[in-house]
Symmetry: C2
Subunit: 347 residues, 2 copies
DNA sequence: TTGGCAATCTGTAACGTTTCAGTATACTGA
DNA sequence: TCAGTATACTGAAACGTTACAGATTGCCAA
C-alpha cells in the first residue's frame, strides 16, 4: 500500500536520493536532456548545460550505479584478484593502497576477488568475465604462459598483470626488474669478496622466477663467482621449511658465503637458519634481500637490502587498467621499476 | 542497426548470458514464475520449481546483479573501510582474507573503501550510506564514542566494528581482549622478577587504548609493580620515533626493566632502541609483544609474544555483518577473542 | 448448478539510466 | 517564399529483476 503520489514524487520528498527525474523536474527539462547535459554532450545548449550541472551539484546528484550498469554494462569496478594463501603479507595491503590512491578520484570501486590454493587460478577470472562484474582486472603471480592473461585477452576485457608474461602477447603490466635486482645483489656480494653464492628464488613457475634466476646466473659468470645450488626452497615455502633447509645448507662444507633472497619474510627464516648452524651474519656469510618495508635493518643490521615498492606497483597497475579501459594502447601501459642500490645499514 | 529478432532472441543466441527471459522461454513458463521458482516461493508447484532450478543450473544462470540492485536496492556488497595510512600492514591482508573466506560461498562481494589521514573518517561511511553502495559495512580503528557507528545506527545500515565502542549503543563487533593481554603481559613480566614496567600503547583515542591501559594498570597494582610512564609514543608513531624515544627512555636511570608492546612493528623499533642504548634484551629488560604473524621470535628469541589472529577477526566481522543483514539480533553478534598465554621462544 | 476457494501461474509496471528516433524552432541560401 | 538544415530539446523503449494485481483451473460444499 504505497500511498505516495506517482508523478510529483520527486517534488515533495526531500529525503529520497535525487535521480535524473528529480533534476528534470527541477530544471523543467526532459530526462534525456538532463542526462546528456551532465555528460557534456554537444547538442545541449551551453547555458542549459551549465544550469543542469549547477543544480546537480547543488543537490548532490550522483548517478545510480545500478541504473548505469544495467543499461550500459559499465560497472565502474576494478577487481584485484588475490591468492589468499600465497600472497606475501604486506604486499597485499600496499598494493591495495596503491590502487585505491589512483581510483580515489574516479567513479571506480575496488573489489577484492580471492581464490585459494585448491582452486584453478582461472576460476575467479572466469567468474568476473562471465558475470561482467568488473570493467578491469588486476592479477598477480603472473606466469610466462599465463592462461588468465590469454583468457582475458580473448574476451577483450582490460586487465593488467603484476609481473610480465612471455607469450608474445601484448598487455599492460607493471613489474619490478628482478633481473637487475639479482644482478646487483651478486655484484655487491662479489664486491665484498663473496665468491660462493646461493639464491632463495621466487616461486617456481612465476615469470619473475626466471628473471631472477637469469639475473643471478649472468652476474655470477660476469664476476666469476660460483653458485651453490639451493633449489629445495622458494619464498613460497613456510618459514620453518626455509629455516631448516638453510640450516642444513649452512652446515655443509661447501656452504655459500653469500645469499640472495627474493623476499623479506624468507630472509628472516634464512637468517634464523644461518644462526641455527652456528654461523654469524656479516662474518661467515652476507645476505642481500629484497624488502617492501624498512624492517630488515631493524632485524639484523648486517643485512643488505634492496627496496621494492608495492604501493607504487598498485598505483601503476591501476593506472594501466584505467588507461586501457579509457582506450589507450595496451602496449603503452607497461612499466618496469628499476631497483635502487643495495643498501647497507646506515647508523 | 541491430538486426537480431526481438522476441526469439533468447532462443537463438547461445552466446549471451542467460536471463530470466531465457529460462522462461526454455521452460515455457512466465518470467515471474521463473523468478519465484528460483527463490523457492511457496506458490510455485513443487515439480515446476525443481524443473526450473534444474534448467537454471544446467545453463549456468546467474542473476544479474545490476537488475537485482536496481529493483530491490540490495547490492550484495560488503564494504571494508580502511585507513590507508595508519592501518598496520599484515593486519589488512589478514582481515581481508578472513572476510573473503566467509563470504566466499555467498553472493557477496567485498569492496575496499579507503580514506586517508586528511579526511574525516565519517566521509567514506557517509558516502557508502548515501549512495547505497553496500548492504553492510566493516570499520576498524573504533573509538569509544564513534561517530561512524552512531551514524550507521541512525541510518539503519548493518555494520560491525573491529573493536568495541562505549556509547551505550548495541551493535555487532569483534574485539581482541586487550585488557586481558596487557594484564597477562604484566603478570608474566612480574613472574620473571621484573618490577618497573613501561607500556607502548595503542593509538590514543581508540577504544582499545583504554582497555590496554586499564589492563596494564590493574595488573600492575595486583602484582605490586610500578609503571614507568612512556606516553611519548604509541604504535601509530613511526619506527624512527619509537626507536629514538625508546633509546632515550632506556638511557635514563629510572628505566624500565620490562616493556609491554601492543604491536609487532613497534616492538622491532623498541628492541632497536633498547640496543641503541647499549642494553641487552632478556638481561637488562624483557619485552612482551602482541604479534599477528610468527615473526618476532625470528627477530629476537628473547622476545615474549602473544598472538592476535586478524584473520579470525576478519571472519568474525564478516559473519557478524552478514548475520545482521540476515535479521539476527545485533546484540548476539558480538565476540571477544581471548589472548593465549605469553609465549617464550621454543627451541 | 453455482459460488467459493485454493493452488498455480502470468502480465504489467517500476527501479534509473542511456539510446534511438524523432519534433519543434530558428536560421540559411536561393 | 520555400526547402534545407543546424540547433536544442523530448518521449519511448530497453537493460534484468521483483512486486503487485490479477487470471485460469480444478475441486468442493451447498
Amino acid at each position: 500500500m504505497d500511498r505516495r503520489a506517482t508523478e510529483k514524487d520527486d517534488e515533495t520528498s526531500a529525503k529520497e536520493r535525487p535521480t535524473l527525474k528529480t533534476l528534470a523536474f527541477m530544471t523543467g527539462l526532459g530526462v534525456t536532456t538532463v542526462s546528456r547535459a551532465l555528460k557534456d554532450a554537444p547538442e545541449i545548449g551551453a547555458e542549459t548545460r551549465r544550469r543542469v550541472q549547477l543544480v546537480a551539484k547543488q543537490i548532490g546528484y550522483r548517478p545510480n550505479r545500478a541504473g548505469v550498469r544495467l543499461r550500459t554494462g559499465k560497472t565502474n569496478v576494478i577487481s584485484l584478484v588475490l591468492n589468499t594463501e600465497h600472497e606475501i603479507m604486506s604486499f597485499v595491503s600496499d598494493i591495495i593502497y596503491g590502487v585505491t590512491e589512483v581510483i580515489a578520484d574516479t567513479p571506480y570501486h575496488l573489489i577484492v576477488t580471492p581464490y585459494s590454493r585448491s582452486q584453478d587460478p582461472l576460476d575467479p577470472v572466469r567468474y568476473l568475465v562471465e558475470t561482467g562484474s568488473a570493467d578491469g582486472v588486476i592479477i598477480s603471480r603472473t606466469q610466462p604462459n599465463d592462461p588468465r592473461a590469454r583468457y582475458m585477452l580473448e574476451r577483450g576485457i582490460p586487465f593488467a598483470t603484476h609481473g610480465r608474461t612471455d607469450m608474445g602477447l601484448v598487455h599492460p603490466y607493471h613489474d619490478f626488474d628482478n633481473y637487475a635486482f639479482a644482478g646487483e645483489a651478486v655484484r655487491h656480494l662479489a664486491g665484498m669478496g663473496r665468491r660462493r653464492l646461493a639464491l632463495v628464488t621466487p616461486p617456481v613457475g612465476l615469470t619473475y622466477y626466471g628473471h631472477t634466476v637469469n639475473g643471478f646466473a649472468d652476474a655470477l659468470s660476469e664476476v666469476g663467482a660460483s653458485e651453490v645450488p639451493f633449489n629445495t626452497v622458494s619464498i613460497d615455502h613456510t618459514i620453518e621449511q626455509i629455516r631448516m633447509r638453510t640450516a642444513q645448507l649452512m652446515r655443509r662444507d661447501d656452504r655459500p658465503d653469500g645469499i640472495v633472497s627474493s623476499a623479506a619474510a624468507a630472509t628472516l627464516a634464512v637468517v634464523a637458519g644461518i644462526e641455527d648452524a652456528g654461523l654469524k651474519l656479516g662474518r661467515d656469510v652476507d645476505v642481500v634481500s629484497k624488502q617492501s618495508s624498512e624492517l630488515l635493518h631493524l632485524f639484523r643490521r648486517e643485512l643488505l637490502v634492496v627496496n621494492e615498492n608495492f604501493r607504487l606497483a598498485g598505483s601503476e597497475l591501476a593506472r594501466a587498467v584505467l588507461g586501457w579501459i579509457g582506450g589507450a594502447d595496451p602496449g603503452s601501459l607497461q612499466s618496469l621499476s628499476t631497483p635502487g642500490e643495495v643498501q647497507a645499514y646506515r647508523g
